[in-house]
Each structure stands twice: as structure tokens, then as C-alpha cells.
Symmetry: C2
């Protein structure tokens, strides 16, 4: 990871490299994913079983594709009791936060004889994807919580979880325990692009859903991009990002640890320290090297830091915030002595972690907010996964005969200017 | 337009035709639009001027691409005073409805030492597209209102309007009058895909925006599909749709007029009557033929009605509502004797028009709600254009040192199960 003075021509070139790094897939990947999707559309569950057995397992059949109640029971019996307590705590805390996101419908009576309103309704069915990682060894339990809980809170009646099985054909028991605790009973043993295709188009066994959410590798991401429009999706997620704005009050060891938490995700991830203290910058670089050497995912983290990491030395914190607003990071940590004093200036960030005792992983697992967040600059215009992804709004309009008369001439005038005579005629035919 | 009994095999086949009719563009269109976009990315304003002069006008230069204050003044002086009064009324009524859509940020203090929250912020800059139609003769004034007003209400500080000029290089004065009244001062004389490209990527003169909204032809729609992700977009809009559920109390002439209001838009539009009264069905078909013969856009409407229109005769209104929920129409009119009694059963519709005196054009122009609505079944999971399209939310998290200790073990446990050791380390390094 390199130190830059910002602003400078060199820093600017590196910022551009970070902004332009893209999602990391080729057009061959796109074509491959499209082929998976079309095959699932044609052959349904048979295609799901074949792909699952080719890539993840060799023990799934049409009869065992869907997780049974007995498998749920066995999973719950097999996991550590402390894990179940942690799940309970996470679910209570996440549910509490997402409950506050619920929106209410409303009606309004703005003029005599006119009633307007907006209904807020949950979607009928939602699909949640949870990655399983290599051989199901590192089950992304938190993906089950972050996708499932907002759907539950929104009131979605059918929630379908797709996750790849382990080599023996079972789902990792931690994933199943989380699903059961969240209240998801419909789980299929399938991952990657074919799982997304099954959710979007339906199969004999998999219900066709209205919305698909959750993180995944580039095949999952590409599949979501392709099915968007057929179903709603949460977002096209790019590699993880963290930007830390720190002043001399911050602890270099904490900064280094927090930067590494995103760098370990992915060689395309971006971890950036922005500081007005040269002493802090150099000390952080030194301590990070020590921490890196102890990290199992050292190589991934090093690639990320070398290519898309940076320490940006700025003349003052305000300049650092301007840089942060340009990058619109997924995660923004404010490790400065008075973090609350800067919130007003922060325009673009997925989630904001305030102060030195709010490291990013608190938000990944248990604090309450969702960890599925906008990346690649999209925090300029989009938001975390949440209850909003599982609702839709319907406008309501009602006029009495008399109220229609009051506004008839205005509507006719606008329709005729726009050349839409049949529109005008709807009013003329009702006009007294 | 044909009469079907629903349910029946024949009706089902026609429903499938309607659902599968798509957006009506080819891969050649896609490649053409991509070429326009790449050219604007490379050559900026020069490309805008060239395409504008090739397709819409022959009088636009780099110096006259942006509308001047004098052009606004001339436009306002040239339009009918009654039109200005209508604009004022529409703006007041639309603003009132959209004000009710505003969301507030919030904070929560769910546990000792923990503060959570959600900031709601307007995007920095928004682009609004308004189609100009053939030679600017049928200016879509309402597009300026429907795109601009929710952006204004959301608090967007930079709003850019793109609309094609007339042959003489001027913008239709009705469009400019609407823009001035809404408070949009930044207007460029460019339409189609190149206008969308300029908004998404910026040029010397056109500010790069965060969100692009508004209806358009297939080139505009394709361009929005391509730039989605670089900017936020409102939706990929398909052809217009209306579904009317009517019982014997409804007036066939009103039903026919309302069906034609959508059929006149586009040969791909879909207008469907669902009724439990055979007498009403046959009478509507007869009166529609008479109305069609008087309509300037008769040919377009006929094509739409023949290919994607239908009268569906159902055994009861409840069955009609089930069919409507399957189709998820953009506009749903309930012309039944007690429309409010059915709202609970209507799950999927962009906007709901209640009773016989609420024809769809009231919602197109003046009632208050937005007329940019989800089509092609996407009302299952998406909503009208509104204030939500111009905001983004940022999660806030703050822990004290002590609060972190309380939850440290839970976070470490989940991070280690997921194999994310650097995540666990962020907590361990702060743990006492």
C-alpha cells in the first residue's frame, strides 16, 4: 500500500484507477451465465441438480434438492449452543433496526371530492442467496440474516433461500440454523448463477419470486444483472470497500486491522486511509505489515492493498471528506476526535461508522443495520439492502363526478397540447 | 379487440402473449445505442450537436446547445395564459402529493452505548428527460412535471432537463414554460440516446448527474438500461397498459374511451377490459368501434387493441382481480359499484383509479400522483417514479468502548465461522 499526498497528480491517477476498477468479469463470463440461465429456464430442476453436482457436490438428487424438516432439526442439534445464542442476539438486534425502516401507506384529501393515497405492500415472494464458499467450509451465516430479516419485517409471505451444499450434499448446519431462526423454511441446495435463474423463472420445485437479494461471486452478480427487470434485485454488488478518515487521535493498530478486514475479502477490494497526520500514516503502514504477516488470507489482502489501497495524506479533514464524497465508499469509518461534527458534510457513503470503537465488522454481523451496501460509487444514488427492497407502492386516485368537472378543462388542455386526443376524450365524455 | 371467456385455454394463451410481448427492441438497436453512448463519452458536446442536427434540427451549435434565460423569457411570453394557469394548478397539486412521499432520517438508541440511525439525503444532481415527439409538435409537458417535481421536492440542487429541439433549433415553448415554472433552469437541446449518455457521463457543458429519469422511445429506454449502475434510473419502461375491471354499473362509452387512451400511445400498448357482464362487454366493443373511427391515432390504437387488447369475461369480479394481479398492470381502473371494497385484494398495480369518474388521464396530468409507472409486470416489485428515486440512505452506527465489549464475543464467533479472520481481529484488537 502506497502513501500519496492528496491532492496531487499522482493521487488523482490512483483515485481514477480505484473508481474504474469495475466488477471484474469478462464477456465470456456473461455468455456462460446466460447459458446457465437459459438451461434452467428450459430444464428446470434437472439442470439445477446437474450443475450442483458438477460444481459443489455429488450427492444431490431431485428428491433431496429441497431441505427437509428433519435436516433442519439435525442442523440445530449439531451446532454449538453459544452460536445459537449469538444468532438470537443478532436476529433481535437486526430485526429492531429493520422494523424502523417500515413505511406506512397513507391517504390524503387535498381538495373537495378528491382522495389520493399510496398503498405500501410487501412483494409476494422473495429469494435470498447465501454464498457457501469453498466446500461450505466458511458458511456466510450473516447473508441469511441480512437478506431474510428485512424480507420478514416487510411481511413477505414466501421466502426462498438458495445456498450451495457441501460435498456430502448437506447444507452447512450453521446456515440451516440461521434460516430456521429467521423463519425461512423453504431452502434449496443450489448456488451460483443457476440458483438465481431458478428464483427468477421458477421451476417445478422452486417458487418463482418477485425479488432476489444477496451477495455472491461474479456468477451470482452477473446472473442478477441479467434477470433484473424480470424480478427486482437489491443491487449489482462490486468488490468490498472501506475508507477510513482518521486524525492523530486514532490508533494505527485499529486502523490497520479495519483496513485489512475489507482487503481480505477480495483482491479487487479497496481499503483507503485518509488522514491529515503524516505520523499516523507511516505508523499505520508499519503496523499493517505486521498484521498482514499473521493473516490467513494474506495474499488476497496484499493484492488488494497494492492495487486498490492507498494512504491519502490530506491538508485537513475537510479535504479528506471531499475525497470520500467523490469515492462514495461502501463503508466509511470516521476515526476522528469529534466524528459527529462531520456528519453534515458526508454526502455519499453506504454506512457510516462513527468513532474509534465502531469497527466495520460490528455492522457486518450484529449492530442492526444491513451489511449489503452500495459499492463502486453507487452510494451516490443508492442505499443498503433493507425493507424498501421488499415492498412496492401503488398510487390511489378517486374523484367524484363534481370534482372531475372542476379539473376537466385543465386535463383536456394538457392532453391536447401533447397530441393525445383519446386522453382528452376520456374527460370530454364525462364532462357536463 | 377480441372477447375471451376467462379462465379458458384460449384466454390463457392470449394472456401469455401479452405478458411476453417485451419491450420491442432488437440487438441491432442495442448496438446502435451503445455506439451513440460511446461517442458522447469520447467527443462530448460535439457529438451531441452533431446527432441533434442529424435527427431533430439543423440549427443547434455548441454555443446554442444550452437554453438561455432569454429563450425562457420568450417562451413564457409566447404561450397562452390559460396554459400557464393550468401549469400552476398542476404544479401545486403534484407538489402536494410528492411532499407526502418525503422520508425522514432517524436515530435510535437500542442498547446502552449504541446509537444507530439512517440518514436520508437527496442525490447531488438529477437528469430529467422529456420527449419532444415529431418535430416538437406534441411536447410532453407532463414529463417535465413528473420528472422535475419529485426531484425538487427531494431537495436535489442540480436538475438538468434534456429534450429534443424543434427543426428551427428552439425548444417547444410549452416545455420551457413548464421547466421555468418547476424551477429547472439548466436545459439542453438534445434528445434520444445521446442525451441520456451526456447526463450519465457528463460533457463540458452538461453536468454529470447521479440519477436519470423520464420516459422516452426505445432508444432512450435502451440508453437508460445501458447506463444503469453508472447512474440510478427510475425504470426500464415498456409500452403503456390499462386494465379496467368493470361491473354492469359501468358506462360502456367511458370504458371504451379509457381503453383507447392507452391504446393510442403505442401499437405495443395493452388495453384490457375485465368484466362479469356479457352485455357490458359487447356494448363496449360496439361503442369502441365508433370512437376509434373518430380518433386521429386510429391506426396505432387498432394495432394495439388487436394484438394486445382483450375483453375478458369472468365469472365474478374476484376472478377478475386475480387475473389483474397476474398481469400487474401499469394503470388499473376499478369501475364497479363499490370500488373501495376491493382494494385489499389488489396486490399488483402501478396506480389504482377508483370509480367511474376517475379516468386514467386525471392521473396523467393533474391529480397529484406520478404518471411514470411500472409496466410489463414490474408492478409486482416496483413503484411509480417519486421522491424515493432522488434520495439515498446512509446507515449510522456508533458504539462506545464499553458497548463494543458487550458484543465483542458474538461478532468474533460469527466472523470466525465465516472464515474472516481479519474481521475478527478488528474486534480482538479493541477487546479488553
Amino acid at each position: 500500500m502506497k502513501l500519496f499526498e492528496y491532492p496531487s497528480r499522482e493521487a488523482e491517477a490512483h483515485v481514477k484507477t480505484i473508481i474504474d476498477r469495475g466488477l471484474g468479469f469478462s464477456s465470456a463470463d456473461h455468455d456462460q451465465v446466460l447459458a446457465f440461465i437459459n438451461d434452467v429456464k428450459t430444464r428446470g430442476d434437472q439442470a439445477l441438480v446437474e450443475y450442483t453436482n458438477r460444481f459443489d457436490s455429488d450427492a444431490v438428487t431431485l428428491d433431496t434438492l429441497k431441505v427437509t424438516p428433519e435436516e433442519f432439526d439435525a442442523a440445530l442439534a449439531s451446532v454449538d449452543a453459544r452460536f445459537l445464542d449469538t444468532l438470537d442476539r443478532a436476529i433481535v438486534q437486526l430485526t429492531g433496526f429493520h422494523e424502523k425502516q417500515k413505511q406506512k401507506g397513507w391517504i390524503d384529501t387535498p381538495r373537495n371530492g378528491v382522495m389520493l393515497g399510496q398503498l405500501v405492500r410487501p412483494v409476494g415472494a422473495a429469494g435470498v442467496y447465501a454464498p457457501g464458499a469453498t466446500g461450505g467450509k466458511t458458511p456466510l451465516v450473516s447473508s441469511v440474516l441480512m437478506g431474510g430479516i428485512p424480507a420478514k419485517v416487510a411481511g413477505v409471505s414466501t421466502i426462498v433461500l438458495m445456498t450451495p451444499p457441501m460435498a456430502d450434499g448437506r447444507i452447512n448446519p450453521h446456515i440451516l440454523a440461521a434460516a430456521r431462526k429467521v423463519g425461512i423454511s423453504c431452502v434449496f441446495k443450489a448456488g451460483s448463477a443457476w440458483a438465481i435463474a431458478a428464483l427468477a423463472h421458477g421451476t417445478d420445485q422452486v417458487p418463482k419470486v418477485d425479488v432476489v437479494v444477496g451477495p455472491g461471486n461474479i456468477y451470482v452478480t452477473l446472473a442478477k444483472k441479467i434477470v433484473a427487470g424480470t424480478v427486482g434485485i437489491d443491487m449489482i454488488a462490486g468488490p468490498s470497500e472501506i475508507l477510513i478518515i482518521a486524525d492523530r487521535s486514532a490508533d494505527p493498530a485499529c486502523i490497520a486491522a479495519d483496513l485489512l478486514s475489507q482487503a481480505e475479502h477480495d483482491a479487487m477490494a479497496s481499503a483507503i486511509l485518509v488522514t491529515d497526520s503524516k505520523a499516523l500514516a507511516t505508523r499505520t503502514l508499519a503496523v499493517m505489515e505486521l498484521q498482514l504477516q499473521a493473516l490467513p488470507r494474506q495474499e488476497t489482502a496484499r493484492q488488494s492493498l497494492d492495487n486498490f489501497g492507498a494512504v491519502m495524506l490530506v491538508p485537513d479533514i475537510e479535504t479528506g471528506i471531499e475525497l470520500s464524497n467523490r469515492l462514495a465508499p461502501e463503508h466509511l469509518e470516521l476515526m476522528v476526535s469529534e466524528p459527529f461534527g462531520y456528519i453534515d458534510r458526508i454526502h455519499n457513503a453506504g454506512a457510516l461508522f462513527l468513532g474509534s470503537y465502531t469497527p466495520e465488522p460490528m455492522g457486518d454481523y450484529i449492530a442492526g443495520p444491513n451489511h449489503v451496501l452500495p459499492t463502486a460509487g453507487t452510494a451516490r444514488f443508492s442505499s443498503a439492502l433493507g425493507v424498501d427492497n421488499f415492498i412496492k407502492k401503488t398510487s390511489l386516485i378517486h374523484y367524484t363526478e363534481k370534482a372531475l368537472q372542476n379539473e376537466a378543462d385543465d386535463v383536456i388542455r394538457l392532453a391536447e397540447i401533447e397530441g393525445l386526443h383519446a386522453h382528452a376524450n376520456c374527460i370530454k365524455i364525462r364532462k357536463k
